[in-house]
Structures are given as structure tokens and as C-alpha cells.
């Protein structure tokens, strides 16, 4: 079942040198799956996530042939209507909790505020929900964390708090933009486990934006590879290492590996043809390989 359908999404910014196309015709359908979006900086992967949530500010422009959340168009909705969708039905976790939590508000107050904004209800019920959510992301001492300020918790805990806050209104889709890049490897596994479980238990759709190919191959069901604002290849995550597009192959090869030492790392030779070449995509039967 398709939760989100995007057809020919474009994001453009006017500049002094003419318009800059950050996203150039991206199309995909998201089901109840973990969809990885991989690419280098400037490939348009974050901008795609922001466009879905209506977070591209003027003078940036978003156009698409179709952008539908369960059949309802969410393209360029007025801000008042978008606010009913953002957070409540589609949520987003950003890269660094240091910049996404309010530094002068206790964590408890922030979660309660976010929850009441979307679900309403009285303070006591919202507080109980916040405690439950903190427990759900495996924070051992939720009572203490509720009263703490963001600078009093570690990066890994901050990211779990962000996830708790985003999941409190039970969204259908979670967009996670590099949610683990600022975290240590040991904490990373923990945060991923939590996201994985929540996605599976609640049947959410997850868009996982990352530059880490190995992580996406292991964590996601399906992967889109973006280059210069376009999707150049889409394939099942477990087949990532058999990627056919030279760009994907080049990215994989440029990673140093502990099990395969080399004297020199292969360097990616970018080709102009990748900007507008054909997309390599697997057949439809593998579209939802992880099938929840």
C-alpha cells in the first residue's frame, strides 16, 4: 500500500546566475517500509525531505506532477493546513539534537508542548504520554530526563529524545535526515534499533536520508541513490553491493575497508552523462522487498 506518492518533484532556487535546480524530477512511492536515500552533499537528498514537509522557504519553489499522502495532495498547501500534517502525519528527525532542541526549555516541556499541539488533551495526559515515549526509546530514568535541559543530556540521549518527541503524535511517515551521523558507533546501533522497532510495530513508512552506504545497505529495505538532484539508481538494499550504476559503484569503491586493504583508494571520476542519463531501476516485484 502506498503511503506517499511523489511524481516529478522539482525544487528550484533563483540565483544571480539563473535558477538553480536542487531537485530535478524525483519520483518514488513509499509504502510501509524503510526507504534509504543516499547521496553526497548537494545531491538533493535533504531538500527532497524538506520539500515533502513543505519546509522549502521562498524564494525556493517546489513543483511536482503529484505529491500525495494517502491519496490527498500535499503539494504547496497553505501553511495553516500543512501544519496539521507536519508533525502529526509526517514527522522529521534532524541530524544534530544540539540544534533541534530548544536550549532554554526542559525536555519534558518540549515533548508535552509538541504533543498537545497535535493531539490536544490536558497537561497530565500529555505528561504521561511523554513519559511513555521516553520509556519507549529506552531512556532509563524518564522522570529525571523530563526535568533536564538539553545541555544536560548526551548526544545519543538527545537524539532519542528527538525521536520520542516526533513519534508521540503517532505519525504515518517519519523522515530521518542523517539521524545517526552525529553519534558514536555504539550509540548508533541503539538508536537504529529503536527506530527499527517503532517502524515495525506501528507500520510506519520511514525515509532514511544518509550518506553512509554500508549503514543503509544493512538497515533499509530499499535504496534510492541520488546524484545532482536526480535519482540515478533504485534497488533493494541487500543488493546495494551489486549496484550497476557507475556512480553507486564508485561511491562504494572509494570507502576504505578493514577486510580489503589497498594502497590507494579508487577515486570517483564524475561523468557529465550521470546528470541526465537513464535511471537504473529494479523490476516491480522487488519494490517492497522487506514487506512489512
Amino acid at each position: 500500500m502506498t503511503l506517499l506518492s511523489v511524481q516529478n518533484l522539482r525544487v528550484t532556487f533563483p540565483t544571480r546566475q539563473g535558477t538553480f535546480d536542487a531537485v530535478r524530477g524525483v519520483s518514488f512511492d513509499l509504502g510501509r517500509e524503510r526507504l534509504g536515500v543516499v547521496g553526497e552533499s548537494g545531491s538533493g537528498k535533504s531538500m527532497t525531505g524538506r520539500a515533502i514537509l513543505g519546509l522549502v522557504r521562498p524564494p525556493g519553489r517546489v513543483t511536482a506532477d503529484r505529491m500525495e499522502l494517502e491519496g490527498q495532495s500535499i503539494l504547496n498547501l497553505p501553511e495553516r493546513r500543512m501544519r496539521k500534517i507536519r508533525g502529526r502525519r509526517i514527522s522529521m528527525v534532524m541530524q544534530d539534537p544540539k540544534f533541534s532542541l530548544n536550549p532554554v526549555m526542559t525536555i519534558g516541556d518540549q515533548i508535552v508542548e509538541a504533543y498537545r499541539l497535535h493531539a490536544g488533551g490536558n497537561r497530565a495526559a500529555a505528561r504521561q504520554k511523554a513519559l511513555d515515549m521516553l520509556a519507549a526509546v529506552q531512556i532509563r530514568d524518564p522522570e529525571r530526563v523530563m526535568g533536564a535541559y538539553p545541555h544536560e543530556v548526551s548526544g545519543g540521549m538527545g537524539q532519542r529524545i528527538m525521536i520520542a518527541m516526533m513519534l508521540a503524535p503517532d505519525p504515518e511517515i517519519l523522515i530521518a535526515d542523517e539521524p545517526t551521523s552525529a553519534l558514536d558507533v555504539s550509540v548508533r546501533t541503539e538508536v537504529l534499533n529503536i527506530m527499527d522497532r517503532l517502524v515495525r510495530d506501528r507500520g510506519m513508512g520511514l525515509i532514511f536520508i544518509s550518506h553512509d552506504l554500508n549503514l543503509v545497505a544493512q538497515f533499509c529495505d530499499r535504496v534510492l541513490i541520488m546524484y545532482a538532484g536526480r535519482i540515478v539508481e533504485t534497488l533493494a538494499a541487500r543488493d546495494l553491493h551489486q549496484a550497476r550504476h557507475p556512480y553507486t559503484q564508485g561511491l562504494l569503491n572509494s570507502l576504505p575497508r578493514l577486510d580489503a586493504p589497498v594502497d590507494r583508494l579508487p577515486v570517483l571520476e564524475r561523468q557529465d552523462a550521470w546528470r541526465d542519463g537513464d535511471m537504473i531501476s529494479q523490476s516491480l516485484e522487488t519494490e517492497f522487498p522487506g514487506g512489512l
Partner: protein, 250 residues
């Protein structure tokens, strides 16, 4: 080239004193590339900053090229021997200084002559053409900025280069270019590297030996062979290697 013995580094005063590094001991031979790995807060960057003279609250011994260095004062000869490259090339270059200004100021501070010829040389050493000489940081990509930062460190013709996560702010394809460049420069100039990284694969690629740190202490010094074959002696090292291999669904 570098000897670190019973190094303690702390911040603040009792009772709020934080012991960031405790009793660190390691040596790095001339021409060797040595890695420091560990999680954030393990003290790996702190050791590097103490060696570079950016932190003065430490005790123990740091010897560079056979000379003990003091916590308070470093002479010009020290900075001719030791230079540092920082993690974030977006933060470590002055936004209103052109590449030419960055390099010529450094060269003048180091008391070099023939500055014009040296700048051309430095730029070609780090794989930037002379066309980059009068550009400002915002006109450069992340990889190009890091090349400028490396050129600035090389300006003093140092023998020991301290690398603090030199590629973690860069894309993987650019990381490959910078790691290749660092390997070439080490071979050409006979440099000694001490490299801090949280990425075991990068350290495995670049270094001969490495120290694994946890909570301010070095838990293990091992060579890269042992890292590759997974024959670490300490549990913590094995956990770190397992965690860095990626995500295994629970």
C-alpha cells in the same frame, strides 16, 4: 619522533576538575603513521591538542624529536616541526582571507623567504592549480578547503603532522582523494602522522599502529594487522570493531 609518557590532561579546578586524559603512554617512530581511535569524549583529540600546545593544563612528558616540550611556552622551532590539520575545513579557514593571504601569512610567520615561489609549490603539492591562489573559502568545495588547510600546515615544512579527523566532514569520494593526498605527501616529505579518527576503516587504511581509547585512558596499543584480523586483546576494542562494522538487525 614523538614520545608521550604518563600524560594527564585536565580541565577546570577541583571539585569540578575533569580528568580528560589519564596516564597516556605511547611512542611514534620517525616516518610512522599512528592512529588514535575511540568514541567522543574518550580523550583522543585532547591528546592531540596537548601535543600541539593548544592546552596547557597537563603533566607528564611530551617529547618531539628528542626535545621535551613545556606546557606553557613553545619556541618557533617547535612549530616548524609540528603542525596540525583540523576536522572542519569550513571552520578552520578565515572566511575573508584568500588562499594567498592564508599561505603568505603563515610563511611570513615561519620566517620563510621566496614566498611567491613557495605558495605555487604548496598549491601544486596539494593538487590545487595556481588558479586557486586568489580564491576565498566560500569559492572552494569542502575537499578543496581541506587541501588549503593541509597546504597551510605544510608551509612550515614540518616533520610531524597532527591530523584531527581530517576527513570526517567530507563526502566519501572526497575523503578518498584527501586520504590519497595525505599518503602521497607522507611518502614524498618523509612525514610522521598522528591521526585521530572515529572511523576504524580510515585508521586501518592510513596508519601502521593505533591506540584505542576509552574514558580518557588508552586501553590498547595494537598494530593494524591485529585490527584487520580482529585479534584485539581487549573486550572494548572488539566491541568497537563490531559496532563499526555497521548495523545488525536486532
Amino acid at each position: 619522533m614523538l614520545t608521550v609518557d604518563h600524560l594527564d590532561v585536565w580541565f577546570g579546578h577541583a571539585p569540578d576538575r575533569v580528568d580528560a586524559v589519564q596516564d597516556a603512554i605511547f611512542t611514534v617512530a620517525q616516518g610512522e603513521s599512528f592512529g588514535l581511535v575511540g568514541e567522543s569524549g574518550s580523550g583522543k583529540s585532547t591528546i592531540l591538542r596537548a601535543i600541539a600546545g593548544l592546552i596547557d593544563t597537563w603533566s607528564g612528558t611530551i617529547e618531539v624529536a628528542g626535545q621535551a616540550v613545556s606546557a606553557r611556552r613553545r619556541d618557533r622551532a617547535f612549530y616548524k616541526t609540528v603542525q596540525m590539520v583540523f576536522q572542519d575545513p569550513y571552520a578552520s579557514l578565515h572566511p575573508r582571507h584568500s588562499v594567498d593571504a592564508v599561505l603568505s601569512e603563515t610563511l611570513r610567520l615561519q620566517g620563510m623567504d621566496d614566498i611567491d615561489r613557495r605558495i605555487t609549490r604548496l598549491l601544486s603539492d596539494v593538487g590545487l592549480g595556481s588558479g586557486f591562489r586568489f580564491r576565498y573559502p566560500h569559492q572552494l568545495s569542502g575537499g578543496q578547503r581541506q587541501r588549503v588547510a593541509i597546504a597551510r600546515a605544510l608551509a612550515a615544512e614540518p616533520r610531524l603532522l597532527l591530523l584531527d579527523e581530517p576527513t570526517s566532514a567530507l563526502d566519501v569520494s572526497v575523503q578518498a582523494e584527501i586520504l590519497n593526498l595525505l599518503a602521497d605527501l607522507r611518502a614524498e616529505h618523509g612525514l610522521t602522522y598522528v591521526m585521530v579518527s572515529h572511523d576504524l576503516a580510515v585508521v586501518g587504511h592510513m596508519c601502521d599502529r593505533l591506540a584505542v581509547m576509552q574514558g580518557g585512558r588508552i586501553v590498547e596499543v595494537m598494530d593494524v594487522q591485529a585490527l584487520r584480523q580482529g585479534t584485539a586483546r581487549q573486550d572494548y576494542t572488539r566491541q568497537l570493531i563490531a559496532a563499526s562494522e555497521g548495523y545488525a538487525r536486532a
